[in-house]
């Protein structure tokens, strides 16, 4: 299935589609208010982009330095070439500790590696503790957004889910009371957990520390209670110095939700006394992406989700229409790198409007990368040959003014003489879903202009 087909499914419920659009747009508006309140916003974006680009250029140096300093603080550093190696390392650490009850806070990396099904298949109970992730975990689906995993769901759906799973009263859909029910259930699981897994927002090469940002405090309960903490991170999360952190922290929450800062910005330097801290550094395609000059920049992403909130396609098609771990504009760049044929339709879902590039806190030129992917992925798209021929024909017409004018005249003539039923037939994507064809003018724009000038 292509993105367009899955988006079509989402749009079958127009009321939900409108609600989803408005819901995400309100996040974009919050982001705008927060950004304009910071006088040096553009300078911060510039600085963040420069730091990330520098770090990625010197990534092996900073990785080696981070490893050395994290070790000096008592953390154990592991390296994983791919998802399976990552999962095996985490599983091994849990087995060694005899942990079968594990709590996890938000980590897109573990989603990418499929850690949950891996551990579940091997008898280890893994509970997602971020409320949105818990909701989608209980529904056996994947997050539809990297910051707001359950943003595609209405409160009544979550109420019904909690009624079935947590025993809340039937029909209860008040967010505060549903959250309380999840809090009560998860508090018990925090207290009973034998290990906590977290993601990593930033890793500081200079100090060997990691930084984790949450609003709920779930990463903190998951690391303050069980003795074993496993932090999983992609190798692109490095920053050189502690003094670089404020640049990113001032951008991150404002770009994501419009908050000045998340409720908790936790810095972990080594294990707590009597505990253990393991850090798993994961490549899983990142070094290959870095070697691609046209796409390496995507590794600068700090996962704020701003590009999703602003994207006119994401807002109207829903995160699940991307059928990918990371949806939206940044996902449409990252996912084809992992599995080109499976995700070939994602760059086609873009209108190249440029809004994502305008809000990206690290200034990734997403439209440029999406355009580059389109050319490269053409071989994987359905009817690639026909598409190529059509595009060549279009190019010929655009390059030859007389041909273009003649084709325009022919199209206007056909639009007048052919029956409406045929024009709005199944072959015409424009009129699918009941949309009417615009009225076709009798003259071309050029002819009309010449007539008026006379």
């Amino acid at each position: 299935m292509t993105h367009a087909e899955r988006a079509g499914d989402f749009l079958r419920d127009p009321e939900r589609a409108r609600w989803h659009d408005a819901s995400l747009w309100s996040l974009r508006e919050k982001r705008d208010r927060a950004a304009t309140a910071v006088p040096d916003w553009e300078a911060l974006r510039e600085a963040a982009a420069a730091i990330k680009r520098h770090t990625l250029a010197s990534l092996p140096f900073y990785l080696a330095r981070f490893e050395e300093r994290a070790r000096a603080r008592g953390a154990v550093v592991h390296w994983a070439r791919d998802a399976a190696e990552h999962n095996a390392i985490v599983e091994g650490l849990l087995r060694e500790a005899g942990a079968t009850r594990v709590v996890k806070s938000k980590s897109m990396l573990t989603e990418e590696c499929g850690l949950n099904p891996w551990l579940e298949a091997r008898g280890i109970e893994l509970v997602d503790t971020d409320l949105g992730e818990r909701i989608v975990q209980l529904r056996c689906e994947r997050p539809s957004h990297i910051v707001m995993p359950a943003i595609h769901l209405r409160r009544a759906e979550i109420g019904a889910l909690f009624h079935a799973e947590l025993g809340t009263p039937e029909g209860l859909d008040d967010p505060a009371r549903l959250t309380l029910a999840a809090r009560t259930d998860l508090r018990r699981r925090f207290l009973g957990a034998q290990a906590g897994i977290t993601g990593v927002n930033f890793a500081i090469a200079e100090t060997g520390g990691i930084v984790v940002c949450t609003n709920e405090g779930n990463a903190d309960l998951g690391t303050a209670l069980p003795p074993l903490h496993i932090a999983c991170m992609g190798i692109e999360k490095l920053i050189p110095r502690a003094a670089d952190l404020p640049v990113f922290l001032r951008l991150l929450a404002r770009s994501a939700t419009g908050q000045a800062q998340t409720a908790y910005t936790s810095h972990l330097h080594g294990p707590r006394p009597g505990g253990a801290l393991h850090i798993v550094l994961v490549d899983n395609g990142r070094s290959a992406l870095r070697s691609r000059a046209d796409f390496a920049d995507a590794l600068a992403c700090i996962r704020c989700g701003a590009c999703m909130n602003t994207c006119p396609v994401f807002r109207r098609s829903g995160g699940h229409s991307y059928d990918a771990v990371i949806p939206g504009p940044i996902g449409s760049v990252l996912e084809p790198a992992r599995a080109p044929s499976a995700h070939a339709s994602l760059p086609q879902a873009c209108t190249l409007c440029g809004s994502c590039r305008d809000v990206c806190p690290v200034r990734i030129d997403l439209p440029k990368q999406l355009l580059a992917w389109r050319g490269e992925l053409l071989v994987h798209t359905p009817h690639a040959g026909a598409r190529r021929t059509a595009l060549r024909a279009a190019r010929f017409a655009f390059e030859h003014a007389r041909v273009y004018a003649a084709l325009g005249a022919l199209a206007r003539l056909l639009a007048r003489v052919l029956p409406e039923r045929w024009l709005s037939g199944r072959w015409n994507a424009w009129t699918r879903g009941g949309r009417a064809l615009p009225r076709i003018p009798r003259r071309s724009f050029r002819a009309e202009l010449a007539r008026r000038r006379r």
Partner: protein, 194 residues
């Protein structure tokens, strides 16, 4: 080759880096009332900032706080206020579940965001700050800074295994973006400037 060496080799090997970009120098307004700014930022994050009046002690201020006065279980990191452990002193982090109030010492406050830097001294204090229903952070009034750049310049990062910017109480908006205070951790946060 080990995974480590293979990944580093794929990245081109650990050569010395080019010079990193210069440290970011923020442009700041000079005449900012740091307390007013801090209080407004913290309020936006769902917390409350209060300043001790001249001659008022923290103990006096807390005594006037009915919710605190009636709290059964109190973790205090402050010498001037006693902890209340009716079930005996906590020995493990888990024992702090059910704490009504955690009184913690904050090192500095950030006016731009309303965050307070808190670096607990041990595992018990760390757990108390997340398990308690309500957290009270006490910060010296002179320790307010304009923004995070200034904050990091003052923090001794890594002096403790755990340090945290606390910016309001625990919260979530994962159900239809409705803001709910008290997701997993504290449901209320008060910052006293003294």
């Amino acid at each position: 080759m080990s995974a480590r060496d293979e990944i580093l080799a794929a990245l081109g090997g650990a050569r010395a880096p080019h010079a990193p970009p210069p440290l970011y120098a923020p442009t700041r307004a000079l005449d900012v009332d740091l307390f007013a700014r801090f209080a407004a930022s913290l309020a936006a994050a769902g917390g409350e900032a209060r300043a001790l009046r001249a001659g008022e002690s923290l103990a006096d201020a807390l005594a006037a706080d009915l919710a605190f006065a009636s709290a059964a279980r109190v973790w205090s990191s402050l010498p001037e206020v006693a902890s209340r452990h009716p079930d005996g002193s906590p020995r493990a982090p888990h024992d702090l579940d059910g704490t009504d109030v955690a009184l913690l010492r904050g090192a500095l406050g950030v006016a731009e965001s309303g965050a307070v830097w808190w670096a607990p001294r041990d595992a018990l204090e760390r757990a108390a700050g997340f398990l308690a229903e309500r957290v009270v952070l006490v910060v010296p009034r002179t320790a307010l800074v304009a923004d995070l750049h200034e904050a990091y310049a003052r923090i001794d990062l890594g002096a403790e295994p755990f340090g945290c910017f606390v910016c309001g109480p625990s919260k979530t908006a994962d159900i239809e973006q409705a803001l709910v205070i008290g997701a997993h951790g504290p449901r209320a946060l008060t910052v006293w400037l003294k």
